[in-house]
Every structure is written in structure tokens, then in C-alpha cells.
């Protein structure tokens, strides 16, 4: 039956070529499309996590919902000591975040001023990497301010200029100082670049009476896939008044956006596959329709319905396999190539800047498991496409089929 199916494939060329091309194109397109979709989501996630937000962050319960000086984490050293014992954690650092007013002689702006550990921050975030002017902070940079490009633009500040700060210290007293702008960064996220500024913690803690305190502790993990298990390990080690949140909660809007984007992506793909499915089925049906008499003869001389079913399934199996075997390595190679050499989509970072996207490049996601289920889906669709032609041809009585014109 297999060799008979093979002969039919060569004999009925137009149907075979159409099925082959459609299967080839849909396999190739599907693999690349899904790799691109997953890649863009991974890229968004990595970018967003890399810029500033950690994969996991520890807060005192109430800080995120209510805020205020009562909700700072105390005994940071003890917590950091525990974190250093937990597997799966790559880096961590604490940040002391406050809000105040930055003023020059003529302009003022509300700003988020955060005390950071410059050395640890180099591993944790892209703050140093996004430096565009001046220099990044160091342990000894004292009253140096490292500010977003859009923030300094608002208050007309230049590197080397002085700027006054007024805020509230951790004991609710006024805190005021004169900072010098030492460096400017641009992450690409307008919201962040227009409000964030940083000071070295060693200096800032004294100003804010914030020794051994932190707004939160941010953590990077070895493998993002393990983020939930690492979160549980951390949670076990800490008191119940601290909450441990992963990026899925911290960047809920981005997760929702990615989910919506995936849904729309799969809807688009589904429509594409519905079209492909029906085109393959229609061509298969036309082919079978033109062979009704032939099938009638075969049934008359002893071919069973099961044989007919097997014959048509073999035909689609051979055609699908041929197309998939050729398309899959090509699709996989494209996905692999562009996972190493990302595609650059001009303006993407501008479009998605609210989610912390700082790069226009989208590396494709090369994932064997994803490619496997892509291929399995195409196979399934092709097999489904012959169900109706099979039932159509098997509905004929053999003698009626031989009279079919």
C-alpha cells in the first residue's frame, strides 16, 4: 500500500505539489513565527529584568500597597547573609528608595532618589551599562548623583552642576543636601529616565538615617525558569512580615501584555492554519473526487475500506513528511541563526518603552521542544485534512463509484 501511495503521489502531480508546498511553507512559517513570538517575549522579559527590576524582590508587607517609612526592611545584613546561603541565587542587592524634590536655581522636579550599592548594582542591573555621559557611581563617590537623561533635561542640569535635594529621612525628619551630577543614564524607558536618580548607599544611608534598612532587596537568579522554586526557598528563610515576589507579580502589566500578545499571535496563526487546512483538504478532496471511479474499481476487485483509508493516509503521510523533513531544519536553522544574530526592529523599544524595553533587537527563541510541537501540529492538521475525503470516498458503494463521472 505504501508503494501504491508513492506511485499515486507521482502520478497526481498537481495535488502533490500543492500539498507539499503548503505544508512546507506552513511548517517553515510556523516555526519561525513562534520562535519570533517567544523570542520577543523572552527579550522583553530579559530586558525589563535586566534594566532595573529583579527576577525576585523582597519587601516588607505593606510597602508596595501603603508605602512610607514604617515599611522599610530592617536588619538587611541578616537577610543578605541568609540569601547568600540559598541555591539558585546569582546576585542580590538592597536599595533604599525615597522620593523628594531636586532643584536647580530655576527648576525643580519630583524625583525618585535611590541609594544603591554601585558594585553590586553592576551585576544586578543595566544602570552602569546605560551610562551616556559622565561616570557611574562608586563606593567613594559621596554626594554624586547619577540621574536619568530626561530628568536632568527637565531641570536643565548638566554633568558637574550642583542640585539640591529635599526629602524625608527614615525617621520622618527633613533630609536635605546638595548633590553634584556625576553621570547620566538612558535606559530607553521614558518613565524611568525622567524620574529616577541614584546615590551611593554609603553616603545616602547617613543622609537618610537608613543604615541596615532598605526599601527592598532585589535578586537575580541563575535560571529564570526556576524563579518560583527559588522564591519558595527564600520565603522559607524569612519572617512572615516579608513578602517575596517574582517578576510575574512585579511586572504584572508586562505579563498580561505578553499573554494578550500571545493570544493574538496564536489567533492569527490559527486563521492561517484554517486557511492552509482547508486548502489542503480541498485539494485532497478534488483529487479524491477525480479518482472516485478508480477507487470504485479498486473496491470492486477487493480493496477494502480500511485499505482505502490506509492508502490516503499513506499519501498524506509521505507528502507531509517530505515537506516537514525539509522545512523543519530550515526553520530551525533560521530560528537558531536569529537567536544568535537578533533581528533589529526599528522603533520597538519606543513602542514598548513603558514595559522597560530598551533594545530594538529581537533574538528568536530556538527551542527544540517548541519546534517539535510545531511539527506535530502541522502533521495533525494534515492528517485531519484527509478525514473528509476518506469518508467521502468510502461512502460510495463500489459499483456506484465505478459509474461516477
Amino acid at each position: 500500500m505504501f508503494s501504491f501511495a508513492l506511485k499515486n503521489i507521482f502520478f497526481y502531480k498537481s495535488r502533490s505539489i500543492t500539498t507539499f508546498i503548503l505544508t512546507f511553507v506552513s511548517t517553515l512559517f510556523f516555526i519561525v513565527y513562534v520562535a519570533m513570538m517567544d523570542g520577543s517575549h523572552n527579550s522583553m522579559l530579559k530586558n525589563a529584568l535586566k534594566v532595573y527590576t529583579g527576577a525576585i524582590e523582597i519587601y516588607k508587607t505593606g510597602y508596595r500597597d501603603i508605602g512610607g517609612n514604617e515599611y522599610f526592611i530592617e536588619n538587611v545584613d541578616e537577610i543578605e547573609s541568609k540569601l547568600s546561603q540559598i541555591d539558585g541565587i546569582k546576585h542580590f542587592t538592597s536599595r533604599y528608595e525615597t522620593y523628594g524634590i531636586l532643584s536647580t536655581d530655576r527648576y525643580s522636579s519630583a524625583a525618585m532618589v535611590t541609594g544603591i550599592n554601585p558594585l553590586k548594582e553592576e551585576n544586578m542591573s543595566q544602570l552602569k551599562a546605560t551610562l551616556i555621559e559622565g561616570e557611574f557611581l562608586s563606593e567613594t563617590s559621596k554626594n554624586c548623583l547619577y540621574a536619568g537623561a530626561d530628568l536632568i533635561k527637565k531641570i536643565h542640569l548638566k554633568v558637574g552642576d550642583e542640585v539640591s535635594f529635599i526629602g524625608s529621612a527614615s525617621d520622618n525628619s527633613f533630609a536635605a543636601d546638595l548633590f553634584t551630577l556625576c553621570g547620566v543614564f538612558r535606559t530607553g524607558s521614558f518613565e524611568f529616565d525622567s524620574s529616577a536618580s541614584f546615590v551611593s548607599r554609603s553616603y545616602f544611608d547617613e543622609l537618610m538615617y537608613a543604615q541596615n534598612k532598605a526599601s527592598y532587596i532585589t535578586i537575580d537568579v541563575d535560571d529564570l525558569e526556576d524563579v518560583d522554586s527559588v522564591r519558595l526557598s527564600i520565603k522559607k528563610q524569612l519572617s512572615s512580615e516579608l513578602e517575596v515576589l517574582t517578576w510575574k507579580t512585579l511586572m504584572k502589566s508586562m505579563v498580561e501584555m505578553m499573554q494578550v500578545d500571545s493570544i493574538f499571535g496564536y489567533i492569527s496563526m490559527s486563521l492561517f492554519f484554517v486557511v492552509i487546512f482547508f486548502v489542503i483538504m480541498i485539494f485532497g478532496f478534488i483529487n479524491v473526487s477525480s479518482r472516485v471511479k478508480e477507487f470504485g474499481i479498486l473496491r470492486c476487485i477487493g480493496l477494502s475500506r480500511a485499505n482505502v483509508r490506509a492508502l490516503l493516509l499513506y499519501e498524506i503521510f509521505i507528502l507531509s513528511s517530505l515537506a516537514i523533513v525539509l522545512a523543519t531544519p530550515i526553520g530551525a536553522a533560521i530560528a537558531y541563526y536569529f537567536s544568535i544574530h537578533p533581528i533589529v526592529i526599528e522603533g520597538m523599544s519606543e513602542t514598548y518603552k513603558e514595559y522597560g524595553i530598551v533594545s530594538d533587537s529581537v533574538p528568536l527563541d530556538f527551542n527544540i521542544f517548541t519546534i517539535s510541537w510545531n511539527v506535530a501540529l502541522i502533521y495533525s492538521l494534515n492528517f485531519l485534512s484527509v478525514i473528509y475525503p476518506i469518508s467521502y470516498i468510502n461512502a460510495f458503494k463500489p459499483i456506484e463509484a465505478t459509474r461516477h463521472v
Binding site: F4, K7, I297, C300, I301, G302, S304, K397, T402
Partner: protein, 230 residues
């Protein structure tokens, strides 16, 4: 081998009138009926539309009937499922059609060996048998040709070879000479007679061809779906 008891098939059956395709067909000699014995060489004949092909199709488990019984050896065809009928057609009946009805994608050798292959004969036996039958039917030089490259006479011989190759108990041939000229008709009938004798295969024709009429042992005449002479 085949017994037909009081078989009726209707084109139309209403309260006011009936239109028969086959009417009270009884074929068994001993009981006032008629049976087709193994090795027989018979002809169903009659004018166009008399029911020759319909009767042949009913005997060959290709078509249904409305009443009566047909026994293929000890099996009653009316009681069999479609799959069981397919098995009988595959293993015990050979068909030769008016329009040759060869499989266009298979060459002559593959067409002749097709039924044997479906029945699971070993390749070596199929090759040997195909050569043997092809030699008898004088198509052994065309084994690699596709049906579309053969003449009508050659195609009909391939169809006969296909029917004969798997050694069925009976061959049902519907108007096998209808598309052949007289020379090819005669040649085909000579070959079929030869197979009837050498292979001991019963052959029943449905035809109104004079060449066929002259060559058979028994003639069964039909008119308006009824046997009028057997």
C-alpha cells in the same frame, strides 16, 4: 458454487406498480433452478437493459438485491457485511469490466499482480504468476508499460490477466469485447476459453456479442429482468 433463489431487484416499488431490474431469478438445475458449476463457461445475454449487468453485479457481491437469496458456496450474500463481501470479491471472484478499468498509476506487471499483492502472496510467487499469465495472454512484452500506452485489446487482456492471476473461483466478465474490434474480440475469447480449460476457472459473461455467444457452453437469456431461457 452459486445458487440464486427467487431474487428480485426493483428500480421502483410502489403500492400501485413495480419496476423490476431482476424478477424472480432462480438459478439451480436440480431443483428447477440453475447453478453455475466450477469450470463452467456461460453467458448471460439479452437486449440492452434486460438486466445482464445487474445480475452479474448481484452475483459478484457488488450490488444489492431486494428479495430472495444468493448463496456463494455456503454463504448467503444478503447476510454479509460490506467488508465480508469485499473479502469474497478479493479472494474468490475475478472481474473483467467493459472499460478495462486498470489502475492508471500502475504498470502492466503491477496491475496484473495487484490482487495477489492485496491477498498477501509472496513477491516471488507474484512475479512468477504474472509472467505465466502474461505469456498466455501475449502481453509479456508490455509488463513495464503503463495502461495508457496500450491499445484497447492489450488493456482488456491485462484486465483478464489481473482477474485470472490470483486464481479466483469464478470470473465475471461484463461486456469484455464491447470496446474491441472483431479480431481482438475473437483473440480475447480464445484466450479466455484457454484459461477456462487450463486453469479450470468458471467464467460467466454478460454480453450480447456474437463472438461471445458462439464460444460459450451455456447461454442464459434474459428479458426485462427475467430469465426466459437457460
Amino acid at each position: 458454487m452459486i445458487k440464486i433463489e427467487n431474487v428480485n431487484k426493483y428500480f421502483y416499488k410502489g403500492e400501485d406498480r413495480e419496476l423490476h431490474a431482476l424478477k424472480n431469478i432462480n438459478l439451480s438445475i436440480e431443483k428447477g433452478e440453475y447453478s453455475i458449476e466450477k469450470g463452467e463457461y456461460s453467458l448471460l445475454t439479452g437486449p440492452s437493459g434486460c438486466g445482464k449487468t445487474t445480475l452479474l453485479n448481484v452475483i459478484g457481491a457488488l450490488d444489492s438485491f431486494d428479495s430472495g437469496k444468493i448463496y456463494f458456496e455456503d454463504r448467503e450474500l444478503g447476510a454479509l457485511s460490506e467488508d465480508e463481501k469485499t473479502t469474497i470479491r478479493l479472494n474468490e471472484i475475478g472481474f473483467v469490466f467493459q472499460a478495462y478499468n486498470l489502475v492508471p498509476v500502475l504498470n502492466v506487471e503491477e496491475n496484473i499482480g495487484f490482487i495477489m499483492r492485496l491477498r498477501g502472496f509472496p513477491d516471488s510467487e507474484i512475479r512468477e504468476r504474472v509472467k505465466e499469465v502474461a505469456a498466455i495472454l501475449e502481453i509479456d512484452t508490455k509488463l513495464r508499460s503503463l495502461p495508457s500506452t496500450l491499445s484497447g485489446g492489450q488493456q482488456q487482456r491485462v484486465a483478464v490477466a489481473r482477474a485470472v492471476a490470483a486464481k479466483p473461483k469464478i470470473i465475471l466478465a461484463d461486456e469484455p469485447t464491447a470496446n474491441l474490434d472483431s479480431k481482438n474480440s475473437k483473440a480475447l475469447m480464445d484466450m479466455m476459453r484457454s484459461l477456462n480449460v487450463t486453469e479450470n476457472i468458471s467464467i460467466v459473461f454478460a454480453s450480447h456479442d456474437k463472438d461471445v455467444l458462439e464460444s460459450v457452453d451455456r447461454v442464459i437469456k434474459l428479458n426485462d429482468g427475467e430469465i426466459i431461457e437457460s
